[in-house]
Amino acid sequence: MDYILNKGLVKAWLRKLIKHGILVAPIRLEGGDIIFKEAFNPDNILLECKKTLYSAKPFFLPQEETLFTFRERSFGTIKEVFDEFPRIFFGLRPCDLKAIIQADRFFTENYQDPYYRKRREHTLLIVVGCNDPDSNCFCHAMGLGPFYHEGADIFLADMGKSFIATPITPNGINAVEKYRYFFEEATAEQQGEKSRYELTAMQKLVANLPLTDVRACYSLIDDEFVSGISRKCAACGSCSYVCPMCFCYNVVDRENKDLEGKRVRTWDSCIFEGFTRMAGRHNLIKSRQERLKKRFAHKLKQYPETYGFPGCTGCGRCSLTCLGHISMLDVLKKVTAEVGK
């Protein structure tokens, strides 16, 4: 069932929900950047805003997380560290959501990663549809869309003065039913209006990029093409850092003078030369060009082969952050034009 949630009541509802966990929502920083941040009360969160600078990835795979601590290099002192705080995410976009659902598969298939699983177990995902995708967005071409919500606990469609709320999972239904007095049942007319918002947003996305067959695109990304863009790559790794679908990590030990140590997991990037460098300086992946090609191959070929969809959610954040203006959207535009010929 769909409900109407007046925008004036959203923060009152969230104030109830934060009794059950820490609220994470879009917040405008002093410099103007908008990011997902933990909010101790909902006053300063943004109910409507442009895409956040980063996805919600840092809350599931932190840039640096402690796996365990130890003292004096002794194995008997190892203490594993888990983050089991319940968190309520508000304002996730479809691109953020899809990446979390993929991380669920990645970190629980074959091997259950306890650090990820414990973080993820106690979360409520409230997704807000995108009425106004920006010029870097192309989630529709990656199989999503402005109102994509598979895996969300609650989906909210922005109707201007109110949201239409669709609780999906038992947890989502519970979060609405428990505070039912904030919600009214949506009429058929309001539901129709929701579809119009979705169509309008979809048109903006299609204007950015026609629908694409990602695998056909990949076949056109040849050495010459990659060589051209690799000259602009600064090998800074920021594309991986902002990518919600990049999960590669490194594991390193840190120790202070008092021999208190910890083993941490940190983000890593296949764009770094040291990513594949071994002892004795052997490196199977020799050039920046090969590293970039490997990145495209992983996202546009191997991901579809393994999971049935690309390793990209079309969020466009890599285009925004790249120092060399290498843009996944531009890459796909260019090769899509080739496919069309």
Binding site: R73, E80, F106, C248, V252, D268, H298
Partner: protein
């Protein structure tokens, strides 16, 4: 499954053998006897060895599964972690995670004649399989072992090279890139030993392990001799961090080498883009 695969299990160093100036073989036994029993491995699987406060690195197991109750790792001093490991003494503890990787297909090659071609410390994983074969000699045909080291001082497992020479149906040849005044043996690349042994490529499976520069040359020569691609088995040298197909470092051609490898037949290696 609630097990935390990323936390290493402590193991005590029982013995240390100096193989060469920069390589030592460590005998390890898990501190927890239950863990020691649980730890079953295949030849050439690898472990992640840890020194807390320094880090961890993948090292292939050099002992044979036919010898139970301990494991042996031969470690060359090449970086920060291995430097620290080389300073450890018997009685010290290290951390072990694993075993990881697919290991050598010891069962699939039963009945075959076996050719081993090793370079440098690459003999360590092959030694695991060679000793397995020696302990199950009736299951395998002829054995030829070719080994190349940089200098006479770099030859590892000298005691076993001698012992294998005395085994039935076994031929061992070794060579060095550069000799010294006392050296009476072969000088030259390991590939130069190939014409000196009698090989019937149809009955042989070849196992190759060595520095990345060596492997393509050996493969080329074996193909020229008439070896089938699927009867040439090698290990892909690739950096592996987590061992469980997650950290991404070893991803190659869409495959996590730590899970689906590091051992591949040459036809599989080609699919991953090796040797092109």
């Amino acid at each position: 499954m609630n097990k935390n695969e990323l936390t290493p299990k402590p193991a005590v160093i029982k013995n240390i053998i100096d193989e060469t100036a920069d390589t030592k073989t460590f005998t390890l036994v898990f501190t927890d006897p239950e863990e020691q029993k649980r730890f079953q491995y295949k030849p050439a699987q690898f472990v992640e060895i840890s020194v807390l406060g320094v880090g961890e690195a993948p090292i292939s197991i050099t002992s044979s599964p036919s010898q139970q109750g301990f494991l042996e790792l031969s470690i060359k001093r090449v970086g920060k972690l291995t430097e620290v490991i080389h300073q450890l003494k018997p009685g010290d503890e290290v951390g072990i995670r694993g075993p990881y990787g697919n290991g050598f297909p010891a069962d699939e090659v039963k009945g075959f004649d076996l050719l081993f071609v090793a370079g440098g410390i690459g003999l360590a994983p092959l030694r695991s399989l060679i000793n397995w074969v020696m302990d199950n000699r009736q299951d395998y045909g002829k054995v030829k072992i070719l080994y190349g080291a940089r200098t006479p001082g770099d030859i590892v497992f000298t005691r076993e090279l001698t012992r294998w020479t005395g085994e039935p149906d076994t031929e061992v040849l070794y060579t060095v890139d550069r000799g010294d005044p006392q050296w009476q043996g072969n000088v030259g690349l390991v590939t130069q030993l190939l014409p000196r042994i009698e090989l019937t490529p149809a009955t042989y499976t070849a196992f190759i392990c060595g520095p990345p520069v060596m492997i393509p040359f050996v493969i080329k020569d074996l193909l020229a001799l008439g070896f089938k691609e699927e009867n040439i088995i090698s290990t892909l040298e690739n950096y592996m961090k987590c061992g469980i197909g997650k950290c991404g470092h070893c991803l190659l051609g869409g495959k996590y080498i730590c899970m689906e490898g590091p051992v591949f037949r040459y036809n599989e290696m080609k699919e991953l883009g090796f040797g092109e």
